[in-house]
Symmetry: C2
Subunit: 242 residues, 2 copies
């Protein structure tokens, strides 16, 4: 399997890698002109790149037609995740990227134990974690981790941009198996809570905003387990886990 | 919701809590005679226990008829999990217990990076983690973590005890959606690998032992993510996640 690299510098049949990726390809992999790698472009497509020039800190390519990656789901799933305590968001990001998430949007809500603190720096870190996980998982897109929304109203307003929104709430609602089918949504939003869960007002607001209330069964899932179960279920039922 | 306690001392309409549970109920919760709690018996059933006597280090109850817990799946899922590096098994156990696993059986296989070391002591610790997770998740049964099997042949021999066995293998096989339906198995085995994955010989041996080879999609899941996705999928498709 040829090596895979993400690049933002790809247009008009040409592409380049710089920085640590160029170093890796030129000095570690000892690539030569004419060799092929897989390049994942900023458009989320996969390209076959043929090395045309190797310079210090820069490798250039001619590229083929782009094609959708088989590793990418056929829908874009956004995970709205209640901001958890301590380092739990790191692991939620890693797992979610592997499971095929498109974007992760943390939010603060009434019963969040975590409070906003140095979120600019944290967000840079979260996006580095997402990029690293995307490479390891063989993704063709690097999922974006958004800056946290400051309250649940902002989550509810954001839901209008999705074909379908599922609000995961203790006590449940419709069985997931009946709500999701292959091709049922282009843009799907999943909303899971932090340690403290949701207030009844927040649950009502989510329903008012058009989200379907759904449960994840009779066992109590921790806030770091629920998003993984939700994502797995969404991918499985839409045919994106096979 | 009344408090829940696990007890092994429950028979003939009577039960008792001792040790830290008795302390918690008597001194922290300040229970009095006549109060009710939920007792989870060694048979996996739930009982309503009415306090009859409080002594130092011991609380006694009269108990109702036992009933199956709504928190327990209608099938017993055993997770055979390739022994991972570092502390990853701790987190796999926690997640799996929340998701409804019945038993966890770690195993060593050809490409395992971890090697057996002080497994007796570790096993005690793993079972404490499982018990703690079962309480937090509202389970009525404490899933057992077995001592690790020493090679993959032992896994294959063990599979004969299950109605259905799924071997999760990179490169996949049948879509899971077509293999699992409500009521399809009383005893289901899921087999996932360690960081190193499986050898082709191991994959062939699993198939020979009657396991169905299945995939978890085109993205590469880490060895700590695959069992969670597998368990979620199994619970979802059999109606045990609603």
């Amino acid at each position: 399997m040829p090596h895979r690299y993400f690049t933002r510098e790809l247009a008009d049949g040409q592409a380049a890698l710089t920085g640590s990726d160029a170093h890796h390809l030129a000095n570690v992999m000892r690539a030569r002109a004419g060799e092929e790698v897989v390049l994942c472009g900023p458009d989320g497509l996969e390209y076959t790149g043929t090395v045309t020039a190797i310079q210090p800190g820069r490798v250039e390519f001619s590229v083929s037609e782009g094609a959708p990656s088989k590793a990418e789901p056929d829908m874009a799933v956004t995970l709205f995740v209640g901001y958890p305590k301590q380092g739990k968001l790191d692991e939620i990001i890693r797992h979610s990227v592997e499971l095929g998430v498109h974007e992760i949007i943390p939010f603060f809500s009434r019963y969040c134990v975590a409070a906003p603190k140095k979120e600019d720096a944290k967000n840079e870190r979260y996006n580095r974690i997402a990029a690293e996980a995307a490479k390891q998982a063989g993704r063709a897109q690097i999922p974006h981790v958004a800056m946290p929304l400051e309250n649940f109203d902002a989550v509810c307003r954001a839901l209008s941009a999705y074909d379908k929104s599922l609000f995961f709430y203790e006590g449940g609602g419709s069985p997931l198996r009946e709500l999701l089918t292959p091709g049922c949504a282009q843009r799907l939003a999943l909303v899971t809570g932090s340690e403290g869960g949701f207030s009844t007002e927040e649950a009502a607001a989510a329903a008012e905003a058009g989200a379907m209330t759904v449960g994840l069964g009779p066992r109590i899932l921790r806030c770091e387990t629920a998003p993984l179960a939700a994502l797995t279920a969404a991918m499985l039922l839409t045919g994106n886990l096979e």
